[in-house]
C-alpha cells in the first residue's frame, strides 16, 4: 500500500512488499506539538514521509482582517509563540513602511526592539535545545535551558507585563520605556550567560553519544535547501550565509557587530552548532545594545495620528484627549498599498505581506512562516532514514506549530 492523495485513513496494513504505513503523531511527544507524519516504512527504514499539518489551525490571518491594525498585532504574536517579539517586530515594521514612517522611529525605540528580538531568539533556541535533547534522552539539558529562558521571560514580563506574549512593541515604537530595575536584571543575565553556554557546550558538543545521534543525520545539501525554501539556522547549517539582518538590515542592525555562523556539513550536528553560535552572537548584540541603553530618549514616534499621546497629557489637553479617544475607539488608518517585510526570526526568514485598502483594519496579512517551509524539507530528508533519526531531523528543523498552522 502506498500513500495516496485521498484523505488519510487509519489503515496501517501494507500489501506491497514488506512496506507498511504507520501514522506517527499527532500526539507523539517528539513531534514538538501537533504534527502527524504518515510514514511508509520497511522495517525501521523510512521509505516515504508525508507530514500532515493543520491540527493547530486557528485562522489567525482571517481574525487579523477583522481587528484594528493595533489589535491584529496581538494575534500575530501568537503565531510563533516561542518568539513573540520577532513576529511583532516584523508586523510593526511592515505597517510602518506602509505608513511611511520607518525613518521617523526614535533611535532608542529601535534599540529596545533589537534587544527584544535578540532576547526572544535566545529564549526560542533554549526551547529548541531543551526539547531536542529530551528527544535524544538527555533530560538534564532541558532544565539548564529552561532556567535561562525563565530569566528572559522575566525580562519580557518586566517590559511588557506578560511572560509569554508581552505585546510590548507598537507601531511607531514600543509601549513605554523600560521599567526601573530592568537593566540590572539584564546585566545579571549577561553576566550569567557565558558560564551557562559553556556548561551546555561541555555537556553536548564533544559528547560521543550526542555526536553519534546527530552527525550525518538529516543531511541537506545547499541546492536542496534552496529548492525546499529552507531559511535560518537550517540554511546556514548547509553552508549558505543568508541572514536577513545582514542582507536586508532593519531597526539599525547595521550598527552592531556580529558574525553569521555558518557550517558546511549540512547535518543535524551542523544545525546544532550554528544555533549555539547564534545564541552567543545574539548575546554579543545584546551587550552592544545594553551599552547604548543608558542614553535616554523618546521611545514612541511623535505622531498623534498613530501613537496615542502620553496618559498624563490627556487630563491637560483637549487635543490629546481627542487623539487618544480616536485611536482607542476606531484605530488608525493606513494608506493603501502592499508591502513585504522580512525579518530574521529564530527559525529563518519571517515575512509579512501586508495589504491595506486605506481602512483601519488590515485588508490581508499573509505570513511567510519559516517553520512551514523548513518542515516541508522533511519530505526530502526523511526517505532512507531510521525512524529514530526522523525524530532528530524534526528536532533539528525546529518547527513551531503555532506558526506552521496559524
Amino acid at each position: 500500500m502506498s500513500l495516496s492523495s485521498t484523505p488519510l485513513t487509519p489503515e496501517i496494513v501494507s500489501h506491497e512488499g514488506n512496506a507498511m504505513v504507520l501514522s506517527m503523531g499527532p500526539q507523539h511527544p517528539s513531534t514538538h506539538g501537533v504534527l502527524q507524519i504518515m510514514l511508509e516504512i520497511e522495517g525501521e527504514t523510512v521509505l516515504k514521509a508525508e507530514p500532515e499539518i493543520g491540527y493547530l489551525h486557528t485562522g489567525i490571518e482571517k481574525s487579523a482582517e477583522n481587528l484594528f491594525w493595533s489589535q491584529a498585532q496581538t494575534v500575530v504574536e501568537r503565531m510563533d509563540y516561542l518568539a513573540p517579539s520577532s513576529n511583532a517586530l516584523c508586523y510593526v515594521l511592515a505597517v510602518e513602511r506602509l505608513l511611511g514612517m520607518t525613518d521617523k522611529i526614535p533611535v532608542r525605540a529601535n534599540r529596545i526592539r533589537v534587544l527584544q528580538a535578540e532576547l526572544t531568539r535566545i529564549a526560542s533556541h533554549c526551547v529548541w535545545l531543551g526539547t531536542g535533547c529530551i528527544d535524544l534522552g538527555a533530560i538534564s539539558i532541558f532544565f539548564y535551558c529552561f532556567d535561562m529562558r525563565e530569566n528572559i521571560l522575566d525580562l519580557q514580563e518586566a517590559a511588557g507585563g506578560a511572560r509569554m506574549h508581552p505585546n510590548y512593541l507598537r507601531v511607531g515604537g514600543v509601549n513605554g520605556d523600560l521599567p526601573e530595575g530592568y537593566l540590572a536584571k539584564l546585566d545579571a543575565l549577561i553576566a550569567k550567560f557565558p558560564g551557562r553556554m559553556k556548561e551546555l557546550r561541555d555537556l553536548l558538543q564533544a559528547n560521543p553519544i550526542f555526536q553519534d545521534r546527530t552527525i550525518d543525520v538529516g543531511y541537506l545539501s545547499p541546492e536542496d535547501a534552496l529548492a525546499w525554501n529552507v531559511t535560518g539556522p537550517a540554511l546556514r547549517g548547509s553552508g549558505i550565509a543568508y541572514d536577513v539582518r545582514r542582507a536586508f538590515p532593519y531597526c539599525g542592525y547595521e550598527e552592531y557587530e556580529f558574525d553569521v555562523p555558518t557550517r558546511t556539513e549540512g547535518d543535524a550536528y551542523a544545525r546544532f552548532l550554528v544555533r549555539l553560535d547564534e545564541m552567543e552572537q545574539s548575546m554579543r548584540i545584546i551587550e552592544q545594545v545594553r551599552a547604548k541603553l543608558d542614553e535616554p530618549g523618546p521611545v514612541m514616534v511623535d505622531d498623534t495620528k498613530v501613537a496615542a499621546p502620553p496618559k498624563e497629557t490627556i487630563a491637560l489637553s483637549m487635543e490629546a484627549l481627542i487623539h487618544h479617544f480616536k485611536i482607542v475607539s476606531e484605530g488608525f488608518r493606513v494608506p493603501p498599498g502592499d508591502v513585504y517585510q522580512p525579518v530574521e526570526g529564530p527559525r529563518g526568514e519571517l515575512g509579512f505581506y501586508v495589504v491595506s485598502d486605506g481602512g483601519n483594519r488590515p485588508y490581508r496579512i499573509r505570513t511567510r512562516p519559516p517553520s512551514l517551509y523548513n518542515l516541508q524539507a522533511l519530505k526530502g530528508m526523511a526517505p532512507g532514514a531510521f525512524i529514530a533519526d526522523l525524530v532528530v531531523q524534526i528536532g533539528s528543523l525546529d518547527p513551531v506549530f503555532g506558526e506552521v498552522d496559524r
Binding site: A227, W228, V355, D357, R366
Partner: protein, 209 residues
C-alpha cells in the same frame, strides 16, 4: 471578533496594489494566469533559486478577483559568506486570477517548496493549481466546505446545527443528581423539560450569521 460598537472603516481602494507607495523592496511585475508559468521559468533561469513564498489575496470588487503573489529570491548555492550573499535581489510576481475560473498552473515543477504553499492557497482561497501532484486541503479538515480566507466567507463560519441543550442546566448534572443549592432535583428536571418543550424549534438557536 470585530467590535460591535464601532463599524469598520473600509478604505476606498478596490485594488491597493495599484496605489502602492514607492517602496523599493523588490522588482514588482504583474502577469496573468496564462503567462505566469513561462515568466517563472524565465526568472528561475535568471538565477532566482528560491520561491520564498506563495500567497493569495482576494479582491472581490476587482477583475480579476484574486492575486496569487510569488516572492522570489536570487540566492546562489555557493554563497558561503555574508559578503558573497550581499543584498540578494527580490522579485515579486503578482498573478491575477479570474474569480469564475480560478485556475493557475502549478510551480511545483520548478520549486519543490511550492507544494505546501499551493495546497494552502487552494485550501483557503479555492484557487486550483493545475498539474499539482497532490492538491488537497492542508490546514482545514479534509471534509470542510468553503474557503475561509475569501472575503465573502463569514468570520464565524456558516450557521451550524447544535445539539439540543437545556438553557438553564446541564442535563448530565441533572441526571447525576446534583441539584444546585436551594432547588430540588425534581423541580430542576421539571424546569429542564419545560425549557426544552418551550424553546422555539426545540433547541436554542445559534446566533451565527
Amino acid at each position: 471578533m470585530p467590535s460591535t460598537q464601532t463599524p469598520p472603516i473600509n478604505g476606498l481602494a478596490t485594488d491597493p496594489t495599484a496605489l502602492r507607495p514607492p517602496i523599493a523592496d523588490a522588482t514588482i511585475e504583474r502577469v496573468d494566469a496564462g503567462t505566469v508559468l513561462a515568466r517563472l521559468e524565465a526568472l528561475k533561469a535568471e538565477g532566482y533559486t528560491m520561491l520564498l513564498d506563495l500567497g493569495a489575496v482576494d479582491y472581490p470588487e476587482r477583475a480579476p478577483r484574486f492575486d496569487v503573489v510569488y516572492h522570489l529570491l536570487k540566492l546562489p548555492a555557493t554563497a558561503g559568506t555574508v559578503a558573497a550573499v550581499g543584498t540578494p535581489q527580490r522579485f515579486r510576481l503578482l498573478c491575477g486570477v479570474d474569480g469564475a475560473k480560478p485556475n493557475v498552473p502549478t510551480a511545483t515543477g520548478l520549486w519543490k517548496s511550492a507544494d505546501w504553499a499551493e495546497r494552502e492557497v487552494f485550501d483557503l482561497f479555492g484557487i486550483v493549481f493545475d498539474g499539482h501532484p497532490d492538491l488537497r486541503r492542508i490546514q482545514m479538515p479534509h471534509d470542510w466546505e468553503g474557503h475561509p480566507l475569501r472575503k465573502d466567507y463569514p468570520l464565524r463560519g456558516p450557521a451550524r446545527e447544535r445539539a439540543p441543550r437545556p438553557p438553564f442546566a446541564l442535563k448530565s448534572n441533572v441526571q447525576a443528581g446534583t441539584p444546585p443549592t436551594g432547588r430540588t432535583l425534581e423541580a430542576l428536571q421539571e424546569q429542564v423539560k419545560r425549557a426544552l418543550r418551550d424553546a422555539p424549534g426545540g433547541a436554542p438557536q445559534d446566533d451565527a450569521p
